[in-house]
């Protein structure tokens, strides 16, 4: 199963700078495009992220690569990855941070979709207003969208604003594709007023089961008592799908009222049915059902 690393450090033939191999004062060295292969340049960029911040020259080299549309995308992505890794070393990165974010905004509309997606992801997690505005505009005007609606919704969920809720509601009612609807539901899980919608989807057997599962999770956050009620009812419902019953059982066993469950004979009988050999439930679900019953019998 184990695959050889994509680039082992020992295999690199990138020229090393003078000085101690791993010392804190090591100079940063990336071969220019005419001097090294893409693989060598990627390896040099990612080998020691902290070295990026050790001089302004190092940083400018990495930022220049990231900005340059003439560079191979793999090299630009490596520069991005290394710069992002360096952000975890806050003090060393402090002086670079402003330039870094400015560069990300500059390339947020880059022609390469992978680079665009990663850059907007970083900015969205940083609650960057510029990125949020671009993502919302894309939802409202799909022709100008920088990312597909499902990705835009996922990124907007890091810092939800009311404008995003209304865009998500529109997508739930008229989804451009099933994944966009799923991501819109996930975003709306933060909206307390969406609880009735999640109850409806949860109990709708014609809905995609993934959306019903998301609704269960959303209800668990928004109105946990309601989820417990529905979970019990879905376990009692013999016509319910077994995987939805498994989700219901997980909700009851992990977050439910144990005393109430112990006295609930109808519920215990249903769980017993789920655990039986004749049940269509998966082995794992049967195990969970047996574990649930063992607490009360």
């Amino acid at each position: 199963m184990t695959k050889k690393p994509k680039a082992t450090k020992s295999s690199k033939s990138v020229p090393k700078a003078k000085g101690p191999a791993r010392g804190p004062l090591r100079q940063f060295s990336i071969p220019k495009s005419e001097q090294g292969t893409v693989k060598q340049r990627v390896a040099a960029l990612t080998e020691a992220p902290l070295d990026l911040c050790k001089s302004d020259k190092n940083l400018q080299v990495a930022l220049k690569i990231l900005r340059s549309k003439d560079e191979p995308v793999k090299v630009r992505l490596a520069a991005l990855q290394s710069l992002q890794a360096a952000t975890f070393s806050v003090v060393e990165f402090a002086s670079c941070r402003t330039d870094y974010l400015a560069t990300l905004r500059e390339i947020a509309e880059d022609p390469d979709p992978e680079l665009r997606q990663r850059v907007l992801g970083i900015l969205a997690r940083d609650k960057d207003r510029f990125a949020q505005k671009k993502l919302l505009e894309g939802l409202q005007n799909p022709q100008q969208a920088l990312l597909p609606p499902e990705k835009a919704l996922q990124l907007l969920s890091y810092d939800v604003h009311s404008e995003a809720y209304s865009a998500a509601r529109e997508i739930v009612s008229k989804p451009p594709n099933p994944i966009a609807k799923r991501e819109a539901l996930r975003l709306l899980a933060a909206d307390a007023s969406a609880a009735p919608m999640f109850e409806k989807i949860l109990r709708d057997k014609s809905e995609l089961r993934e959306n019903r599962q998301i609704s269960a999770s959303a209800l668990q956050a928004l109105n946990p008592e309601k989820l417990q009620e529905h979970a019990r009812e879905m376990l009692l419902d013999k016509s319910e799908y077994v995987d939805i019953q498994a989700t219901s059982l997980t909700a009851l066993s992990q977050f439910g009222d144990q005393e109430a469950a112990a006295k609930d004979e109808a519920l215990l009988k249903s769980v017993d049915r789920l655990s039986s050999k004749s049940s269509k439930a998966s082995t794992k679900t049967k195990q969970s059902a047996r574990r649930f019953l063992s607490k009360y019998k």
């Binding site: 020691a48 997690r125 999770s217």
Partner: protein
């Protein structure tokens, strides 16, 4: 005759957990019955369940361990000390899967079940260990409103200088992980934090039954029996994680364990690992885990950092760097900001806010353990180094790794 065996010098069942580092224990006669001699010779040994843990003993804080021990115990009721540690390579799988027995001749006069509770490679957990871990974690988060909220609030941009702003990066995260582990153990004491060995393929971690399987968009999918399907953090439903490597058979492209351990014999050289492999392990994903402010929303974060801590522990053992008084054990160069000097207390557990510290201190003091006293309610940077009690037995923090020895 009956005797009482106290593990970690405690009569509480909650203290019956040991690691490789020896736990102080004691034995005393509680019912002398027909015994007339002033002292009885009692034979102590561990009896392991099938696939269970195994323990070793010694009489004092130093010396060789043995699989059994004979203790001369007065019938007056006075306690006799001894030490118990897990046998390296034989961690427990379940709570109480090894029993320490005391016999007078062939007569059993006392026994106590214990667990050799060790942090293990997450990729190799048994289904039971895996399920207990995710169940405890899901309950700790409890729809985003549980105790886990504080852990997310601690590891944000607001506290980044405390966690990442200098050489205390490693002790700070060691303390942070231990706090989380203790909270998990308050829910299920048989749980220990597993580690993600990121320089090897770990297909068993990225499954729907464990930490989830990412789809092309980076939305993590769980099985219907996995309680993490209810994961919510700060209103965000589920987990966003987009690996940039094939989790089924690849690992991130970053420094290997051997390369990391070879960074140098001085802490100031070793701590370069903050960039590679640590930083690269984070940024080999898109999604929450790749940014400081959101990283702790993903449970994988804690397995990643557990491996970072394991690498430090392994390096400490390899080059003998447990003693805060030894310069090579830490980076004591001038210019370290507050919170990164050995005598400093660490935020947020010290509760200090404002000035050079963040404006709030979420979570309160460090969680206590029924097994050990260290690192205390307000840990200092120096308290994070001697985690096994190699220099001072009282510094033992109550965790160990499956592949890092005590001696």
């Amino acid at each position: 005759m009956n005797v009482e065996l106290q593990i970690n010098n405690s009569a509480s069942a909650e203290a019956r957990f040991v690691t490789w580092a020896p736990s102080p224990c004691r034995i005393r006669v509680t019912n002398r019955a027909a015994v007339t001699t002033p002292i009885v010779n009692l034979h102590i040994q561990g009896i392991s369940a099938a696939s269970g843990g195994a323990v070793v003993f010694r009489k004092t804080t130093t010396g060789r361990f043995s699989s059994s021990l004979t203790l001369h115990v007065p019938i007056s009721g006075a306690s006799v000390p001894f030490f118990v540690g897990g046998r390296f390579g034989r961690p427990s799988v379940n709570e109480g899967d090894v029993t320490i027995e005391a016999r007078d001749g062939t007569t059993l006069v006392g026994s106590v079940p214990v667990m050799v509770r060790i942090r293990k490679n997450a990729n190799a957990l048994t289904p039971g260990e895996r399920d207990r871990f995710i169940s405890a974690f899901a309950q700790l988060n409890n729809r985003g409103a549980g105790r886990f909220q504080a852990f997310r609030d601690i590891h944000t941009d607001a506290g980044d200088l405390e966690a990442h702003g200098g050489p205390a990066f490693l002790p700070w995260h060691r303390t942070y992980l231990l706090g989380l582990e203790r909270e998990l153990q308050a829910i299920d004491p048989s749980v220990s934090l597993p580690y993600w060995r990121f320089d090897r393929a770990a297909p068993n971690i990225f499954t729907r039954e464990f930490l989830g399987e990412s789809d092309d968009l980076g939305t993590v999918q769980f099985s219907a029996t996995n309680p993490l399907q209810f994961w919510t953090t700060d209103g965000v439903q589920g987990i966003n994680r987009r690996p940039q490597f094939k989790t089924a058979d690849e690992h991130p492209d970053l420094s290997t364990e051997a390369e990391t351990l070879a960074l140098g014999r001085l802490y100031r050289l070793f701590r370069e690992m903050q960039g590679n492999p640590h930083g690269l392990a984070h940024t080999n994903f898109g999604g929450s885990i790749s940014s400081i402010d959101t990283a702790a929303k993903d449970p994988l974060f804690f397995l990643l950092h557990c491996n970072v801590d394991r690498l430090w522990a392994k390096w400490q053992r390899q080059v003998g760097r447990f003693d805060p008084a030894q310069k090579a054990s830490y980076d004591t160069r001038r210019g370290n900001r507050i919170g990164h000097r050995l005598p400093n207390t660490m935020w947020p557990w010290n509760g200090i806010t404002g000035g050079d510290r963040p404006p709030t201190a979420p979570g309160g003091p460090m969680a206590e353990s029924p097994c050990v006293a260290a690192p205390g309610l307000q840990p200092r940077v120096r308290d994070g180094l001697d985690y096994q009690g190699a220099i001072n037995p009282l510094s033992r923090m109550g965790f160990d790794y499956d592949d890092v020895r005590f001696d």
